[in-house]
């Protein structure tokens, strides 16, 4: 059974989003996603300063098995990317919700977070497949 953190929001494409105290939103991929991918070997993050729209391709996560696109769960400007993933991509597998974060967005419209799935809805969706 994969871990689904109750305080996070989720996209159907398996990204999670966490609203931080400073108003930025941290984005990563769920435990279910990292488990399905297997050992991650490369992560391509967006660039700091890049503007993304909700649902837009924001990067790629490559495992030995497959390459998977990462989508921005909400719109905004990228303010930080997790550079540690360059040397230690396996962190995505070992710590998908904490050290394995991909990038942070300054949201252009916080209400977009409400359009994402809550933990229960994501659990239902991801267990269907």
């Amino acid at each position: 059974m994969s871990e689904i953190r109750s305080e996070l929001k989720y996209a159907s494409s398996h990204e999670w989003a966490r609203l931080e105290e400073d108003g930025t939103v941290t984005v990563g991929i769920s435990d279910h996603a990292q488990d399905a991918l297997g050992d991650v070997v490369y992560v391509e993050t967006p660039e700091v300063g890049q503007t993304l729209s909700a649902g837009e391709e924001a990067g790629v996560v490559e495992s030995v098995k497959a390459a998977s696109d990462i989508y921005a769960p909400i719109s905004g400007e990228v303010v930080a990317v997790n550079e540690a993933l360059e040397d230690e991509p396996e962190t995505v597998n070992s710590s998908p919700y904490d050290d394995g974060w991909f990038f942070k967005i300054k949201p252009s419209d916080e209400s977009e977070l409400d359009k994402l799935l809550d933990a229960d809805a994501y659990r239902e969706e991801s267990e269907e497949g």
Partner: protein, 362 residues
């Protein structure tokens, strides 16, 4: 829910992530395929390969039958009971029905073919056998475990005990020794030293657990694929299939052309192909920047429209970058480009062999 080997329960108990492979429930990994890969290159890892098909070939016509059926020549094994031979089994068009290893049992031979091709292979072999005094007997009561890595043989000796020490110590590479149902071969699919052992299904779980207790790590199909690709070993269905000539699959070295009067199936087609000029060859590709080469990606080798294709690609855990095998036009030079997500990425072209005994060849 597919077929289960005698080790299914052991895999589940050890945390195996079970997936379907050719109709069998097999472990993809037990947590991390990268760790399992490294364990084989540095210590000892073990694989359940019981899903493969074991067929004994007996009868007065066995040798003649196999000399017709196989592109390599079992006459090379004469006088050397236990010795093994790697070969393709071809159709009349010169395509590869399967690749396999044949051992001289004396009397008779043992053939090990792939799992996914089992029905096709047995039908083909039975069809060809009708012209010979030969019996084909499948051996489903046998499980098979491959133990590979620099420490593999020592670990197996530890587990199998004093009765087997002399026999294993005397075992040359690509040779085998058997006693009862136990069949120990110094062969493998990883590029490391090691053994592939057939044994009765009933003995398999005890053997597997004893090896684990001795420090051998269970390894799954994921690691098996990255190891064999690093070692430049073909995987049927990728590097070759019914429509691929062995001359285009880095298997020319497995064809015994001499003696010229040995009419093996597919010989004429291969001779015609050689006379006309072989059009493609199997090469290795190395991607030194970020990214992973994957089967099906197209390869640009020259200014024409002709494209090669990647037959197998992966991230190489031992080398730390991506490698692939590709079938490309023979005009290829020492570099090429691969189309990855609509971009042309440069790659180095090398011989299709990347790691041997833990060391990089590229």
């Amino acid at each position: 829910m597919g077929n289960k080997t005698a080790l299914y329960d052991a895999h589940v108990a050890m945390g195996g992530k079970m997936v379907d492979f050719g109709g069998w429930d097999m472990p993809l990994h037990y947590g991390s395929q990268l760790e399992e890969h490294h364990k084989v290159r540095k210590g000892a890892g073990m694989f359940d390969v019981s899903h493969m098909t074991v067929v004994d070939v007996d009868g007065s016509g066995a040798r003649d039958f196999l000399r017709t059926l196989l592109a390599n020549d079992v006459a090379k094994l004469d006088g050397n009971p236990g010795k093994a031979l790697y070969t393709g089994m071809l159709n009349e068009k010169g395509g590869v029905v399967d690749d396999l290893i044949v051992y001289l049992r004396d009397p008779g031979y043992r053939v090990v073919v792939n799992c996914a091709t089992r029905e096709k292979d047995l039908a083909w072999m039975n069809q060809q056998a009708s012209a010979f005094d030969v019996t084909l007997s499948e051996r489903p009561h046998l499980a098979m475990v491959a133990i590979q890595g620099p420490d593999a043989i020592d670990k197996v000796k530890e587990v199998m005990g004093i009765d087997w020490t002399a026999a294993i110590d005397g075992l040359k590479v690509f040779s085998s020794v058997s006693r009862g149902d136990w069949f120990v071969a110094r062969t493998g699919y990883t590029g490391e030293d090691g053994l592939e052992i057939m044994l009765n299904n009933n003995d398999a779980p005890g053997f597997w657990h004893a090896l684990a207790d001795a420090g051998v790590s269970p390894c799954g199909l994921g690691a098996r694929d990255t190891l064999r690709l690093e070692a430049g070993m073909n995987l049927y269905g990728h590097e070759m299939d019914d429509d691929t000539s062995p001359l285009q699959a880095n298997m020319a070295w497995t064809i015994a052309w001499e003696p010229q009067d040995r009419k093996f199936i597919g010989r004429e087609a291969l001779e015609a192909e050689k006379a006309a000029g072989v059009e493609n060859k199997l090469v290795g590709l190395v991607l030194e920047e970020r990214g992973v080469l994957r089967a099906g990606q197209q390869v640009v080798v020259d200014d024409t429209d002709r494209r090669g294709i990647i037959t197998s690609g992966t991230f190489s855990p031992t080398l730390g970058f991506s490698i692939a095998m590709a079938r490309v036009p023979v005009s290829v030079g020492d570099s090429a480009q691969v189309e990855i997500r609509n971009k042309l990425i440069p790659v180095r072209v090398v011989k299709p062999s990347f790691v041997r005994n833990g060391k990089s060849l590229v």
